[in-house]
Amino acid sequence: MRRDVQKNLLLHGGVLVALFALQFVLPAYHHGNVARIMVLATYAMGYNLLFGYVDLLSLGHAVFFAAGLYGMGIAVSHLGVSAPLGLMIGVLAGGVVGAIIGALALRTEGVAFMIVTLMFAQAGYLIILYFGEITRGDEGFVIQQVDRLFFGGDLSDPFIRYYAAFTVFCISFLSILALLHSPFGKTLIAIRENQERAVMLGYNVMRFKLLAVIFSAALSALAGATYGLLFGYVGASFASVQYSIFPLLWVLLGGAGTALGPLVGVFFMFYLIDISSGMTTAYMLVAGVVLVGLTLFAPQGLMGEIRRRFWRWLP
């Protein structure tokens, strides 16, 4: 048991150190990519919190990502709020949207939950298009460089951007690990394993699930707001169905219910799509093939398979 804790510390600490060190060796193009991957991995971790640890499969997480993105973008660009405050507004917006959708969607289960979340996300996407005068619809809007100052640091500078992405990733990653070891996290896992028993033990399962949805939405929104600040663009495509499918794909590929799965999944998928989009415009074909292949051959994902075969101690 103690040895497992040590191994865990070593592995996860090692991953964080490696991510930090990567910036000194990577060429410019991949340097930007890894910054992007860390932000998207934060989004994937938000998704994994719900899908991996509570076994709630949402098909509408893009609406939370977009709530963060637009909450921050509109506050910063239209209302002249500073970037740090904008970031907080984005996260708050995600939490509120999560609370509303969660309270409604959690009345359903299984397939109905998937379709209801899909429908709410679609409504969110259409609402963004409908208010085209503010959101600029599909075209989106650019966040000016002057608005992207974070306590004096210019987020459009590649190195500061990398640090910012790394910080957000670290905070989210460590909070998730802490959460999983807290009584709250253990209850969530208990609900995943056997909901009836959790109810019988006197847990208010609904409340725990709703809190999980809100946390997951807020984390997704944090990723969205960060993405907008770091890369300076806010657009409706981030609210489309595709961006609800992506986190599912990442988490399935990396391994649902594993701490490192989201990062691994985003990393692989990002470079798979990056390489294939150099060869063909139909790069989403890769996503389709991976999805089908995963459901058929490796429903546990990469880290899940590693845990099953070699490292049983992986969290």
Partner: protein
């Protein structure tokens, strides 16, 4: 145009939408009703129907009418065969687990869509209708000597659109007859009611599943072949039919065929009429939210008894 003729035109156009939607959605309802799985790739089977219809009529370039007739028969069969293949190679292997099926069909969605993009390309291409006479329609007006008919300018429909409505009605009646009157329909209904019991009575449930999945996709493809002379074939055209079919199947009571047809009429007609008076985006937002709420508060739909 006055309000009356305007409304009639919107209703006629709505009826065409409703007919096509009823065909597409009944395919989805059939698959959900009997197999208890949600096929997210349904819209792509629709798209494939339209694209293949273009391909067949293009091959038969010299004789467009014959080409269209061939497409009408061959294309749904091709799409059904492809869907049956997908069922046997993918869905059967994951044991029709509801959640994993959704993930797998999302994968199939991207594969079909992107392969179409690679082969057929990003263009929208038209198919000429086999016949397309414009029929002017009369409207009545009140004059001093009672009610008389006149032909308002712009109030017309093409013979092809009327044929689409008729064809859809015919196919749906045929489907109903197969389900209720044939031995095959009996086996399907037995599978729907109790899979294990059907298996125990020697019904080849796996083959029924493959057949039903093929039929569902074939119906979507048939609807697309019918609609492609009105709407062009494009590799991204599967999104709207998928969303609308979902809405229709949910309102109609999951898996109930009469409910599905009724809901398709409701949605198709109101879509035609609403989009004349309101912004289409707003109409879509309201429809989507309404249906989500329906699933949350009344999961058995308006006409059905089953729940997801």
């Amino acid at each position: 145009m006055d309000f009356g003729p305007y409304l009639m035109l919107a209703t006629l156009e709505g009826a065409v939408t409703a007919a096509v939607l009823a065909l597409t959605a009944s395919g989805l309802a059939l698959v959900f009703g009997i197999m208890r799985v949600v096929n997210v790739a349904h819209g792509e089977f629709f798209m494939l129907g339209a694209v293949l219809a273009w391909w067949v009529t293009d091959l038969m370039g010299a004789t467009p009418v014959l080409g269209f007739a061939i497409a009408l028969v061959v294309v749904p069969l091709m799409v059904a065969a492809l869907a049956t293949f997908a069922d046997m190679t993918i869905l059967k292997r994951i044991n029709y687990d509801p959640e994993r099926t959704i993930v797998a069909t999302i994968g199939i969605l991207y594969i079909l869509q992107q392969v179409t993009l690679m082969t057929y390309g990003p263009d929208a291409r038209p198919v000429t209708a086999p016949f397309n006479t414009r029929l002017a329609l009369p409207w009545f007006e009140r004059t001093e000597d009672g009610i008389s008919l006149y032909w308002p300018w712009g109030l017309s429909i093409t013979s092809y659109k009327l044929a689409v409505i008729g064809a859809a009605g015919g196919v749906l009646l045929g489907l109903w007859a197969v389900m209720k009157r044939s031995r095959l329909g009996l086996m399907m209904r037995a599978t729907e009611q109790d899979r294990e019991m059907a298996l125990a009575f020697g019904i080849p449930v796996e083959r029924i599943y493959a057949l039903v999945f093929g039929m569902g996709a074939g119906l979507a493809a048939l609807a697309a072949v019918l609609v492609v002379p009105i709407q062009q074939a494009h590799y991204l055209m599967g999104g709207d039919p998928l969303l609308l079919s979902f809405i229709v199947v949910i309102i109609g009571g999951l898996g109930s065929l009469p409910g599905t047809v009724l809901a398709a009429l409701l949605i198709g007609l109101s879509d035609g009429i609403i989009s004349v008076f309101f912004s289409p985006t707003l109409a879509k937002i309201l429809a989507t939210l309404l249906v989500a709420m329906l699933l949350v508060f009344r999961p058995q739909g308006m006409f059905g008894e089953r729940r997801l």
